[in-house]
């Protein structure tokens, strides 16, 4: 059965785009932050006259952090609201759940933060209508392992991962593989689950061992607490993490004094002189009164990326926009400039950012 290929997505002067995000439930933080970024981007675009003279209208739904709900809402967006493009969900699992719906209805969908390796390409087939604008887990894990071995001279590491989170496990696995390739050893691997607040037990365990660095591929909400509690316990080893660290909340939670010798892989750096980055940070601070997080920035780029693809599409149909997305070259976003590769993954450089007293102090382009 042919899907609604954007039949009524365009009415008069508006183009409908859908947002299917985690606004409540366990990972509401990521969904809300992404939507904040998206809204900002779309508002900017509309204020500047829209896409080819048409305004973008966001239809936003809350999938309650639930894959089944995400699927149902994807159906609603694609068969009832007939949006031209779908954005989100934020997490890989939920994004994967809607991809079949997108393919079936021939509506392109974009995620800014579905980082699991196999989201758009499982090694044999490309998910035709699914795109993402973030690098994948192995990339981050691999880069950080290299950085640890080469730049920090580390030969032994401890891993603390969020066992309930595939992102965290993905990064940890990639890190392990590369770090061992570089001749290093993983001394021990500890786990927590999202929402935990007390990490003293695993940290006490770690404290008794000898190692050079701690790899902590998790989100700022727990990472902040872990780093703080570790420093309180007298653990001084460097902490390494992924883009999940990128949030002002990390500083709030851990406190400035704890955030020394902390490095994480990220899409961009706030000390980057690039005007795209600085304008975004400035605008975001004005709008929300806070520093942006990685989710904000990625959400913002999702909005911009969608608008860019629509503007380049030969006509306003799902197929045409899909084609435009697949052919993206040199898209300039806050989170980097990239081409879309054949697997619908962006080809991006990655930064390793170092913190000193909680503020970004160094950034190094890798990869």
């Amino acid at each position: 059965k042919p899907g609604g290929s954007g039949g009524s997505a365009v009415t008069g002067d508006t183009i409908k785009v859908g947002a299917n995000y985690e606004l409540s439930g366990a990972v509401a933080t990521y969904g809300q932050a992404s939507v904040d970024g998206i809204t900002m981007a779309i508002d900017e675009i509309n204020a500047a006259g829209g896409v080819n003279g048409k305004k973008l209208e966001i239809i936003s739904y809350d999938n309650k952090s639930d894959a089944a709900e995400a699927t149902t809402l994807a159906n609603k967006l694609f068969t009832q609201d007939n949006v031209l493009v779908g954005m989100g969900p934020a997490t890989s699992g939920n994004f994967k759940a809607i991809i079949p719906v997108a393919n079936k209805n021939r509506v392109p969908v974009v995620s800014g933060s579905a980082t699991a390796d196999d989201v758009t390409w499982d090694g044999s087939t490309v998910q035709e209508f699914a795109f993402r604008i973030c690098f994948n887990d192995s990339f981050q894990g691999t880069i950080m392992a290299k950085f640890a071995a080469e730049n920090l001279g580390a030969s032994s590491a401890v891993i603390i991962k969020d066992n309930s989170n595939d992102y965290s496990k993905g990064l940890a696995d990639a890190f392990t593989t590369e770090f061992e390739n570089q001749g290093g050893t993983i001394v021990t691997s500890e786990a927590y689950v999202a929402g935990d607040t007390d990490f003293n037990t695993i940290l006490t365990r770690i404290k008794g061992q000898s190692f050079d660095v701690i790899y902590l591929p998790g989100y700022y909400s727990e990472a902040g607490l872990i780093i703080k509690q570790a420093r309180d316990l007298g653990i001084t080893a460097p902490f390494l993490g992924g883009d999940g660290f990128d949030s002002p909340t990390l500083l709030e939670l851990a406190g400035a004094s704890a955030l020394n010798d902390v490095y994480f892989t990220n899409h961009y750096s706030s000390i980057d002189e690039d005007p795209t980055v600085q304008d975004f940070i400035k605008a975001f601070k004005e709008a929300k009164g806070a520093e942006p997080s990685a989710f904000n920035a990625l959400g913002y780029d999702v909005g911009k990326f969608v608008a860019d693809a629509i503007s380049r599409a030969s006509e306003l149909t799902g197929d045409a926009v899909q084609k435009a997305m697949a052919e993206t070259k040199g898209f300039v976003g806050v989170t980097g400039t990239f081409d879309m590769d054949g697997h619908h993954n962006p080809v991006k450089t990655i930064l390793v950012i170092g913190l000193k007293d909680g503020v970004q102090d160094s950034s190094e382009k890798v990869g």
């Binding site: 929402g195 037990t201 709030e252």
Partner: protein, 294 residues
């Protein structure tokens, strides 16, 4: 050895936090047999009130603590009035569902106003954040405070329930509200009082945990609420020392499982331990195994 002692401190402070929430929980639970799922959320509100007092009103720790307790008391009594009282005579599961509704309502109303992102408590004075070392074991002042508060509150509550007139009234109401009225006890007032105390405790726990972990968010009440429920039941329904011990057992089991390297399986193993103990002691650790008189 040092590591063992350190882990012991860890487990005691973690257990105390569960106990702190479980105490208020078991109290309400013991009196009206309501699994008050909203208790964890009252605790969350307490944490936010404390946060607001400290960051926006620039109040000190104790003033903020008192403020949180007062606001939570009002909130708790209000919830009971509006949502639970109409269900007094219906089944316990119906009341449970209402409590779940109230819990969601508080969580998402809060989230609507403050967003889902965690907030951090401001810097605390040194007497709270400091730490000292005893033979290689680092003990933080907050840990001492939290353990102390939990034990003192347990004793105070036990005294209220067992020795005071109000406490007797509470127990009477829990066993037979109509008969309690025939003794001249005001059932409504007694239940309101119970909620007031329970909620004040939740408020205090919220601020203490906020200070201790430094991180609060609108959904922070769910997991501790659940664990407190488990601790309360595990210790024996409505038995106040049971809540404390239940809290310590869960805290201890979690620490034990993680500290011997099974942090991957932590929650599963902890529940397995709980189930095994319950099978041996089907009415909780301190629950008397009295068979119903036939």
């Amino acid at each position: 050895m040092t590591e063992f002692l350190q882990q012991l401190i860890n487990s005691l402070s973690l257990g105390s936090i569960y106990a702190l929430i479980a105490l208020g929980y078991t109290m309400v639970y013991g009196i009206i047999k309501l699994i008050n799922f909203a208790h964890g959320d009252v605790y969350m509100v307490g944490a936010y009130v404390g946060y607001a007092c400290m960051t926006h009103l620039h109040l000190g720790f104790f003033e903020s603590l008192i403020a949180a307790m007062i606001i939570c008391t009002i909130l708790g009594v209000l919830i009971e009035r509006v949502a639970y009282r109409p269900l007094r005579n219906s089944t316990r599961i119906a009341a449970l569902i209402t409590a779940i509704g109230v819990s969601l309502l508080i969580e998402y109303t809060m989230m609507y106003f403050v967003g889902a992102d965690p907030r951090a408590y401001p810097e605390m004075p040194a007497y709270l954040t400091g730490s000292f070392e005893v033979g290689g074991v680092i003990i933080r002042n907050q840990q001492v405070i939290i353990i102390g508060v939990a034990v003192v509150l347990m004793i105070a509550l036990q005294f209220i329930v067992k020795k005071t007139k109000m406490g007797k009234a509470m127990r009477a109401v829990s066993q037979d509200p109509d008969a309690a009225r025939l003794m001249g006890i005001s059932v409504d007032r007694t239940i309101s009082f119970t909620f007031a105390i329970g909620s004040a405790l939740a408020g205090a726990a919220g601020v203490l945990v906020g200070v201790y972990y430094n991180s609060i968010n609108p959904l922070m009440g769910i997991i501790p609420g659940l664990k407190a429920f488990v601790a309360a039941v595990f210790g024996g329904i409505g038995i106040i020392p049971g809540a404390l011990i239940g809290g310590y057992v869960i805290g201890g089991a979690e620490t034990l499982v993680s500290s011997i390297g099974y942090s991957l399986f932590k929650d599963g193993v902890v529940f397995a331990i709980l189930i095994l103990i319950l099978i041996v002691k089907p009415t909780g650790l301190l629950g008397k195994n009295v068979k119903e008189k036939v």
